[in-house]
Symmetry: C2
């Protein structure tokens, strides 16, 4: 890894999560896609909020959750994403800065409020996400500072950003700045429906600009339009340097050149809410990666971080992950 | 119990809790009173927020937590308390109304924002609360509708309100309306420091207007200025019809006329955050009371509700308490 003053800089949607307990009957009554992330307009989101149960608010956003996890593991991080200068935006900025994350993006002073994700958690601990992007849509290329990107060992991008043309340009600008500066580009496929919307562009991006790919089983099979996980592995092997492919309780498969590492999932006493499982897996993995750990240890760190996040409501760690990692993995972490 | 369309109506400070993990070193560095509720001005609260870790936001307020618990147990409830028409106020209104709570108090359209309580949870699961009352201070007698109070079997008041002269007048107005309508008046001492501030007025209020008193050990000994819990029991017995006195892991003592019931605490696998333990105890107890249960069963319901709330972050139930109560207590609940 080149000598850099930051471990990871991420670009993502800045979103406050509003989580509530729900059930399958509510999901079908409101025609919500279980397990998916669905974009909503303001009026639609308000109607859903009015119908849903009491909530817990926690800062979220996929890439930001990953950054919060890396910071909680002691990493040096920065985040680029757009909030509005309102109460939820203030909370959002606080929650990243309190972890020592550099968060230079200026809050919007007009336009829609800070973005929100209404998350319905069912008794099986599955989360169904309904996002009103709000101010997050204002993120554009002018928010990307190539000098900030150049300071990091890894640039981390979330697939969700692809839903907005301006954000797409911002991502390309960030990826180009990364490659000029010897910064690795990591990308998360985010969501199977997001992959369906942007399959061709995602494939081009991955082949031309991505070094490290994060995906779960449904996302990677959607990307390559194959029927089984095993069929996707040789395809992703050709496209990227490293792929970390997660399979929930089946653990994860790390693909690197002609090597393949299988890592068991970490046991969890009670799975409460799977929101952020993939984000925190990426946090653990990348923390190991920037420290130069071997890929099996990176995978184990991902598993431990993911296990913490699914044991409680919300996608931000409730325990300093650095301490947890030492307890679980000892000297290897 | 008279035939009424509501079980419990409560008056309290409408406050959004912002909870974070902290440690004793942080508390002493910021000269915070561990375990207490301390009032803060806006600038002081902002400085504390800037120094504290990332948070989780959950609607709170002592009496409102009790009302949320009663609603979660299937009770018919109403809440009187003041928010501002801002994002946190919208969240606050949502969280009560989503439980079926009547919440008729109009949000303030000017003045300070919705009140916040910055809660530092230490590794011993103790919570240290620092409150910026914000819009909650605007609550006054004009917010009390005697007809609403008259519809309830029980009026529940929190001691915290005593810190504001206008709120004090509102409480007296509500208590008078209750007595005219055959509505029992329940009162929570809230906090030992609050008792120290208002001891004489609390004693007068309790002797003249309170039927059911909730207090923990430090609060009841502070009220009567006695050195031991056992010395407080005969004194409170003379002052109120029913007193429910909680002693954390030692369980609770219910005093009623010449009877005394001792109820064991409910076992909890892991105590995460004691915020709201007393509030939810009152919720369980009053739910039993309005259903005409005997006081031992009221006490058991209080213990079960308190055990749920201390097993996670935040003072609002994460599980429908009605289902939990059936599982734990069966036909008696």
């Amino acid at each position: 890894m080149p000598d850099k003053s930051l471990d990871v800089v991420a670009v993502g949607n800045a979103i406050v999560d509003i989580l509530t307990q729900s059930d399958d009957a509510f999901l079908s009554r409101h025609a919500l896609k279980k397990g998916a992330m669905t974009l909503m307009e303001a009026a639609q989101a308000e109607a859903l909020y009015a119908a849903m149960g009491p909530g817990v608010e926690v800062s979220g956003g996929s890439a930001a959750n990953t950054i919060a996890g890396i910071a909680s593991l002691g990493g040096r991080t920065a985040f680029i994403g757009k909030v509005r200068d309102d109460q939820l935006g203030t909370v959002y900025q606080h929650d990243l800065r309190a972890l020592g994350v550099e968060f230079p993006t200026k809050a919007a002073t007009q336009g829609p409020g800070t973005g929100r994700c209404y998350i319905l958690v069912t008794p099986d601990a599955q989360r169904t996400m309904n996002t009103y992007l709000g101010a997050a849509v204002e993120l554009g290329p002018s928010d990307i500072d190539p000098a900030l990107v150049a300071r990091a060992k890894v640039l981390y991008l979330e697939g969700y950003l692809w839903d907005r043309p301006d954000a797409k340009d911002a991502l390309r600008k960030a990826a180009d700045a990364a490659h000029k500066a010897g910064t690795k580009v990591a990308f998360s496929l985010s969501d199977a429906f997001c992959v369906h919307r942007w399959r061709d562009e995602f494939r081009k991006l991955i082949q031309s600009r991505v070094d490290i790919l994060f995906a779960n089983e449904t996302e990677i099979t959607a990307l390559y339009e194959v029927n089984s996980f095993d069929d996707a592995v040789p395809l992703v092997r050709k496209d990227v340097e490293v792929a970390a492919l997660t399979r929930s309780e089946l653990g994860a498969v790390i693909v690197h050149g002609d090597k393949t590492e299988k890592i068991a999932a970490e046991r969890v006493a009670k799975v409460v809410d799977t929101t952020g499982a993939g984000d925190l897996y990426a946090a653990g993995f990348l923390s190991g990666y920037v420290q130069g750990k071997d890929l099996a240890n990176c995978g184990r760190m991902g598993a431990v971080a993911a296990a913490e996040i699914i044991s409680h409501f919300g996608a931000r760690p409730e325990t300093p992950l650095k301490d947890l990692m030492k307890k679980k993995l000892g000297a290897t972490a």
